[in-house]
């Protein structure tokens, strides 16, 4: 008994338990491993129970992606808080790249339009502020601000995706730390967006 959850017919928090199971499966098996039946087996419920909490497989994936945006946002917040004003863009870019490289499967899922519902209100509520905050950090304003924010996003997003799932993965060092440094160096070439500190410190 002690510490053991009483085995009740009603789980009590099945939805969150399923999301947690799904995240585990995703992290070490990729999106293909995230199967409604596998999630059910992990939490110990019937396969059909999943659909009491998620309309379908896509809804489950959407919940996962939402959690991903929350994690990414937290990382970006921490990065900006710790950085001097003039280095906010670089800090954000670094955080974005780090997230993508260390949680690649989750990162991919967050942009897998066919697996998640991009229109989902919960997801939009979490993901849309990220671009706005980046726009602030450009230091520009007006149209240029918007353009620069999108461009900055594109640079780090492109680097991340190429590093994760393209032949570039082989053009760049395999060792995680070295790869990270190489990507940051390349990112730094995008003057003046990410060139806060002199190149030597990159």
């Amino acid at each position: 008994m002690a510490g053991e959850k009483a085995k009740t017919y009603h789980h009590g928090d099945l939805r969150n338990a399923l999301l947690k199971a799904a995240l585990t499966l995703l992290r070490d098996g990729g999106q293909d491993a995230v199967t409604t039946r596998a999630c059910a087996k992990i939490v110990g419920c019937a396969p059909s129970a999943v659909f009491r909490h998620f309309a379908d497989r896509r809804a489950l994936a959407t919940g996962l992606a939402t959690e991903g945006y929350r994690l990414l946002g937290a990382r970006m917040d921490r990065a900006t808080a710790a950085a001097p004003d003039s280095g906010r863009m670089r800090a954000i870019g670094e955080a974005y790249l780090d997230f993508a490289l260390t949680d690649a499967h989750l990162f991919r899922l967050m942009f897998q339009g066919d697996l998640i519902g991009l229109d989902n209100p919960d997801l939009r509520a979490v993901s849309e502020p990220l671009l706005a905050r980046t726009a602030d950090a450009t230091g520009a304003d007006g149209d240029a601000q918007s353009d620069l924010a999108i461009l900055a996003w594109a640079v780090v997003h492109g680097l991340a995706r190429l590093a994760i799932d393209s032949q570039l993965a082989r053009q760049v060092p395999a060792d995680p730390d070295a790869r990270r440094l190489a990507l940051l160096r390349i990112m730094g070439r995008t003057a003046p967006l990410f060139q806060d500190q002199p190149a030597s410190s990159v």
Copy 2:
């Protein structure tokens, strides 16, 4: 009879027919629609026949992706051939974006590491020269050349992916032509990589 292919037991070119069917399915149904059974039904063979020509579903997808890289390469070649030397980078970037926007499903598949075999020799033979040609077009040399080529790739790749499968799709005009222009304008902000012509002409 006239013009009709004789219905023979042996199809004769099943492999290519399957690839063609798969491409059709992909283009108007996304990757989920590319099913070995659906391909078989389209070409009119038994489901199991597919596996005489492709080891598994991934091999089929890999073949499709290879074809995609071939198409992209052709577009890039045409673009560079028609552009003045000083405008090669911009021409390449434009071609890349155009391809991604007009053949989005195929473009996505080309980078879907879990569906295609990135190590496939045929695929690598077609895809790897693309980066090399981009490196030439930077006009730089040495480490900077490599860095700039990767950065340029990242910019257009990031813009393309964000436009295709992220919330950015809603920040940017919905009309295809307007969207294209907006993305090119943003791309042009990456001085000096893509700034061949004065901004007014963008």
